[in-house]
Amino acid sequence: MRHFGRTDLPDEQARALRKAVRLEWISIAFLSVSIVLVALVMGNSQVMKTAWIEDMLSLVPQIAFLVALLVARRPSDPKHPYGYHRSAGIGHLVAAVALTAVGSLLAVESSIALVRVEHPTIGTVELFGTTVWLGWLMVAVMLFIATPPVILGRMKLKLAPVLHDKVLHADADMNKADWQTNAASIIGVTGVGFGLWWMDSAMALLVSISIVRDGTKNLRAAVLDLMDRRAMTSDMKRPHPLVAEIDARLATLPWIDRAASRARDMGHVFHIESFVVPRDGTVSVGQLGEARRMCDDLDWKVRDIVVVPVDDLPRALFEEDPDDEEWEDRRGRGRAGARGEDGRR
């Protein structure tokens, strides 16, 4: 796989993509085994049931990642002039909605069990001729499946920024925290073993709350992305530096006075509109083409960039934003250019 739509992937990205796909398949295979194992020993434990449903939910982002890749690979065509990159955003949204909805449902269920003082009944099973309390099997299964997701999550977390893939990042984030669910289940079931019936539902409530938190965090990010918020890094913590880099690069061209760009994060690649104010009010088609090619070569994520000559930069791109660390920097550039010309912006 070497393409995202019409974008050719550099070697580093192509390698990362192959690795990410492999990791996702391994994750799906491992989760399927976990789901079967947990189902076999689940019994009447609320926390085990919650962990089981969480396992099934964590398949959603993994499948979404793989499906979105298949779709996003297709090149743009007259019917889909922006390509199919948005499929990643849709996958992200679907995963987030599923997490939020099911997590809330489970939180309500656990709370009801606590309020109604429902004592979980966990009996025994006959294993190789001896009678073993099912709770011990639950603990054994939860221990057995605790570590691989953490390792897989850490590996995927390294690939997410390389590919600029938010679904992959969200998935890796969840995997990384998966051991907490296993720990909660072990504590809950062991508590029941000691006669503390409420530990089961209390731990189930804790796990459901963490599912809801994952869900709302991703729901927010997915919605903001689909609303064409400014492009952010794949961990959604900072504005993506590429946009400022393009502005800076454009400003180095002698015929450009000031430049400001807005980028739409299509998932993986950016669609970019760069506004430039030509120094003496005129510009040639050749100059615009040169500017476009220069930005295109800057990064593989630059896709379908248009360079538009304007007499003034769109105000929205310069409005003060306390969250943006690069804002001062960008405003400074705009001013410097302006001062050279006529002393005011």
Binding site: N44, E118, H119, P120, T121, I122, G123, T124, V125, E126, G129, T131, V132, W133, G135, W136, V139, A140, L143, F144, V192, G193, F194, G195, L196, W197
Partner: protein, 154 residues
């Protein structure tokens, strides 16, 4: 994985020693060398009630279990619903009466694993269980351990 198995093994062995699982309401502790309050509902040859005398294969099995923990059985005869209410209210420790693994009472009572299969009237089989109070896992585990032993020695 070796570590997992070692930890699990240690827990299982340790758990048996510590008397885990324990009962939130201490049923097993109370009935051991005490009184086991059993509710029965007549059902074919499984549970018969003749005047005041309770008989049948299930009461026999329960007498055996009571013997194994040094308990004396106190019988209560009633309808299934009344008996399940008794379990919920803590007036009974165990309910029998040809109850199958498909019993609808599972939100109100705990059930044992099926201890035997009997042919059903309409063909197929019924898997028979006993009902216990919800969440009294120590008592349930002790009962199931006894039923497993009985199943092995016909």
């Amino acid at each position: 994985m070796v570590l997992t198995l070692a930890v699990a093994g240690a827990l299982v062995l340790g758990g048996c020693g510590l008397g885990i699982p324990r009962d939130p309401h201490g049923t097993l502790e109370r009935v051991t060398d005490g009184v086991l309050r059993v509710g029965v509902s007549p059902n074919g040859s499984l549970v018969t009630v003749d005047g005041g005398a309770v008989g049948g294969s299930e009461p026999e099995l329960i007498e055996g279990f009571a013997d194994s923990i040094g308990a004396r059985v106190e019988w209560t005869v009633g309808s299934e619903e009344a008996l399940v209410r008794g379990l919920e209210a803590g007036r009974l420790d165990l309910v029998a009466g040809g109850i199958t693994s498909k019993t609808p009472w599972t939100t109100k009572a705990g059930k044992t694993r099926p201890y035997t299969e009997v042919p059903a009237d309409g063909g197929g089989t019924h898997r028979l269980v006993f009902l216990v109070p919800l969440g009294e896992n120590g008592f349930l585990a002790e009962l199931e351990r006894y039923l497993d032993r009985e199943a092995e020695t016909p």
